[in-house]
Amino acid sequence: MEEKPFKALAKSSGHHDSVKPSSKSDIRNLWTMATLSQPKVNVQLTHVYEDSEQESSSVSSGTGHWYNQEKAGPDSDSDRVWEEWSDTDKKASIKQGELDDYTSLELKQRAGSSLRSDSEGVEDPKTKMVSSSISSPRILKHTPHRAYWVEQQNRLPLPLIELMESEALEILTKALQSYRSGIGKDHFLTKQLQRYIEGLKRRRNKRQHVSVH
């Protein structure tokens, strides 16, 4: 912000209204499927790293160790492994498809079967890894919550979104009263604001309902 005013993004990425409720892209699925599976990870973790196609975002490394999914080799889309991540300068982001593959893999492990999925192209070495049931207590202790990780890469944290929406709701409710007294309740701007407020309330209630259940 020196000579010219700061030229911020013209459009927001629209995270608050562009998340489609598909099973692959909806973060809430990760929260429901991944959360419970975390303590039961029995997969061998090896060292692989992959760049994401999404816009790069730096990892907020925090104070602990972070883990990242990586490809074992060029042929396997679904070779998913975790590695220990040093909390400094590496950038990492995870493809949504990779996470979903990993999540489905975990579900299979939970079911107690070492399955080979032809559709995912899982190779023998991977199946072997899956069934080997090697787990490191140190790694398990430091494995991050995957849904939280994805959230950090792609969108604002939910508590922050909730704070923003609550505050916006309070401000806009008062603005609605000003609109009604200033331009009347039948004016199209007043109605637009009213509809917007109702939409915001519905979205908030939906999110709270999901988090409760």
């Binding site: 000579e3 013209a10 990425s13 608050h16 604002l156 916006a168 806009l172 603005a175 000003s178 917007y196």
Partner: protein, 197 residues
């Protein structure tokens, strides 16, 4: 001016050296702006702007509307994200007592904000803006014109204003050093007293 504790802006912070928001903070601010952009124009009208500032600050209506008129530099009756971002930086600079640094680092945009009518001069009529936006006191404003009005027209051009920001910054740093020294002396004194005891 104090930001309302627990409000969204209250959680943001400026980089202390450059007095700008980090990318992460800007992203959050963009989303916040779009939450308030009810009519999907990428702007806030005067009503929304008033209620936003009334909610997060302790400014009165007159102050809020003068800020709106100042930021509406295109005179379209709405403010866009650029102006909103600048306002948030000013608010955070006040909140975190970084006014001198902010004015020093961003002297050009601040000057353009304060000068009216495109004359590239700041006059005494703008003084009330300095006070409540940048916390500049009455005696400082008088000193301001007395020491830096080189041309003598009772108005400051950009170069005179820039000189003022440099001197204000130096004064601020000296004040910080003096305060730090005082604290160190106090600590030493307390330590020596405790040793004696």
């Amino acid at each position: 001016m104090k930001l309302k504790p627990g409000s969204f802006l209250w959680y943001l912070y400026l980089d202390k050296l450059y007095c700008l928001l980090s990318l992460r903070n800007v992203k959050a601010l963009v989303d916040y702006f779009h939450l308030l952009d009810v009519h999907r124009n990428n702007t806030l009208n005067d009503v929304l702007f008033y209620h936003f500032l009334h909610h997060v600050t302790n400014w009165n209506r007159r102050q809020i509307m003068s800020v709106f008129n100042m930021l509406d530099w295109d005179a379209v009756g709405e403010i866009g994200f650029d102006q909103f971002y600048m306002l948030v930086c000013i608010l955070l600079a006040q909140q975190n007592h970084l006014e001198e640094q902010f004015v020093f680092r961003h002297s050009r945009p601040v000057f353009e904000l304060l000068e009216k009518d495109g004359e590239l001069r700041i006059g005494a009529e703008n003084s009330h803006m300095y006070k409540f936006l940048f916390n500049i006191k009455e005696e400082e404003i008088r000193e301001f014109y007395h020491d830096f009005d080189i041309i003598g027209d009772c108005r400051l051009n950009y170069k005179e204003f820039k000189l003022f920001t440099i001197f204000a910054m130096d004064k601020y740093l000296e004040k910080q050093k003096a305060e730090k020294k005082d604290k160190q002396n106090e600590v030493l004194l307390q330590n020596s007293k405790s040793h004696v005891v």
